[in-house]
Subunit: 287 residues, 3 copies
DNA sequence: ATAGGTTTTGTCAAGCTTTTGTACAT
DNA sequence: ATGTACAAAAGCTTGACAAAACCTAT
């Protein structure tokens, strides 16, 4: 295993603790003992990052720095998977570090210790939200977001294997034409699968006629179209209306509102993907 | 295989890294070792391009260039395609070595690459069969088998989480009293879940009154009792008869034959757990 | 366990009692006896915070300060949590109803909100104790207990994933031959993992030769054997003596007493699984 | 409650070194 | 293409400082 090591400035950026303070914590409390590069630069590992984050959290909670350091140092270096927040933090760190193996390990720990819905709601959705916000503020690099997306999508699709089998009601899922963000849609599908539904997944940027063809051929109990911006749906408002005439159509995502849904003859889903899946499962069955 | 090779300008254009910098990375960190053309031009392969992209992504994420190069060079050029037999072999080795984490990693590789039913049929069932044969021949249990059973059981129960949700028919699964081998029953449950059923799992060594109580409370579409030896079932033949009177009872495992099942008023299931699950799903639904 | 301690200002902010008054209560009534830091600062524990809150509530209710202090000092310190009891109750209900998914959801809520050790101590151990008492009184097993045990076991083994990784000392855990109650052993393993140990888990009903083989192959810092009844251990007393000769052997569970342990050349562990893990971690390390 | 002294802790400065992308001459 | 050079950015160490928080005693 090759350690991912960063210098003090990067650690400072990631943790929000200034380089000066990091050095002070090292000098005064022995909080960190980074190895040095040839040029005598400090090199920090992800475990160090976890320590600093823990320290910072305690200090912000009002614990004196010296005490916080004592506590952090007394804790085992490797927290067991039994610790939810630690595992969630490890996932974030691994994704930031382009650490493919580490990301998978952290996800494994989370998913084997906790239910999928909890992991989705408490870890994955907040992470997606954070990426979105950072992207808006221009803080995250394209490469980083891309890496995280690829890792998560691959992993979630792995979980999704065989999700179209069984005897439950069937749902056909797609992103609106032009809409490329599909992680939320996959989470939605997995949550719905957890309720016993069968999923037919068409993925990102699905042309409306593909969707209509699938709908005609499968006669699903629900057709779901997701869009993060309103424009994507308005552009195909007419076709959606046609589709709604022949299948139970649901619209989801931030680009949806009640007015638009009604205009299409569709029904809106609300909230995050996990909540929306519960809403659909509750509402569609009695029909 | 003839490599498609490009010159430095083209590589720079593709990766967004200037030619000067590419040369600097080669000189300082040995990141690349391109072959030379007749005119002493550098010629790069797709693997080189992958290296440069990985390097660039890390540097943009804040990792110092020297560190990034060290990491990129330490990684295998192409992450080996998941090879089924290799992963299966790794699983066997890890289980022999009492290596919990290694076993999980191997199982992860198998399950993320090949789907549950394949893994069950090609790896887990043969393993169970081998244990069963040894046991039949009266060979003393090999020490590692105990560990392996515990690891696999924990892992499969992890896959099983939430398997009673949904709208499908419900099955209540149990081992006969005294029967401790439950791996097969878990595989059976997972295969049945794959068919859309809901599973209530009572596990090894289930007292008959526990089973009867669960059956009354849940009114399942099937109650399944497993035993590897005939004696376990004969010992509770009377109670099984009572249970069969109030619920659809199925018997499975090597300890079952048609005569015994009939005598109890139950129906037999045949073959390995995956096959038996298919049989139950096919036979129980039309009822 | 490392205490989280705060200084007087933070305690004042948290309780709404001024630093001056806190010092006065200490001087006049001996309400608190905080330890001092190197620089002679007072350091308060969460128990102190509970005391101050109780004191404040009484004073505001009109009780004279001296009287209030006397009452508070006579009371045991117990921090309560309403959220916690609600989630614990939901778990109990779901387990009673054979509701697998509901049980997992309740466990998710507990584990992600309160941390493993708290949940173990406040929910799971009392549950085990209740089962144990019923069993001792010879009451027939309630059907639900069987289901509950299976669910909890699967869940805890999920949390245990990867618990043999890391660099800490290694422990090999097993139930004595014939001993089928393994929930306590898993809790013990998880608590020990929380102390930084690596765990190799052999589970219920472990033949002595399996245990010996694992011990020889892994050379652990501790081998632990659990039994709830004394007979299980006496039946293998000779083999335990041999094992104790080649590895540090510890015995735990209600079936252990000092005399028996000494006769085997082993050392006894006391109290519930979490306490026993702390005992082992404290005693085995200096060796 | 105030006064006067001590401890804690985040921040800064000066002077020097290392890293790393880019530039230029041959 | 090669080899050398350069300069901006980032780091290192030592030492110090000052605001906030805390102590005791009156």
């Amino acid at each position: 295993m090759v350690e991912r090591r960063v210098r003090i400035g990067e650690l400072a950026r990631r943790t929000g603790v200034s380089p000066d303070l990091l050095r002070a914590w090292e000098r005064r409390y022995g909080l960190l003992a980074p190895v040095r590069s040839d040029g005598n630069y400090r090199l920090y590992t992800p475990a160090d990052e976890a320590r600093v984050s823990a320290m910072k959290a305690r200090v912000e909670a009002g614990v004196p720095a010296g005490e916080a350091a004592r506590i952090v140092l007394a804790e085992p270096v490797l927290p067991g998977a039994a610790d939810f927040t630690a595992a969630a933090g490890a996932l974030g760190t691994a994704l930031e570090d382009f650490d493919d193996a580490g990301s998978h390990a952290a996800l494994d720990a989370l998913l084997s210790g906790f239910g999928f819905e909890t992991v989705a709601r408490e870890v994955l959705l907040p992470y997606l939200r954070r990426i979105g916000e950072r992207w808006e503020r221009g803080e995250t690099t394209v490469a980083q977001e891309h890496f995280a997306t690829v890792v998560l999508r691959g992993r979630l699709l792995g979980l999704a294997r065989g999700w179209d089998r069984g005897t439950g009601p069937r749902a056909v899922l797609s992103c609106a034409p032009g809409e490329l963000h599909e992680l939320g849609l996959i989470l939605f599908g997995l949550a719905l699968r957890g309720q016993g539904w069968r999923i037919t997944y068409l993925g990102a940027d699905t042309p409306l006629d593909s969707l209509t063809a699938a709908s005609r051929s499968l006669q699903p109990a629900a057709v779901v179209v997701v869009a993060l911006t309103r424009g994507r749906l308005e552009a195909v408002r007419a076709e959606l209306g046609v589709l709604a005439g022949e299948a139970p159509l649901w619209l989801a995502g931030a680009g949806v509102d009640a007015e638009l849904a009604e205009a299409c003859g569709a029904r809106p889903l609300h909230g995050d993907p996990v909540a929306a899946a519960a809403e659909l499962a509750g509402a569609a069955l009695p029909v």
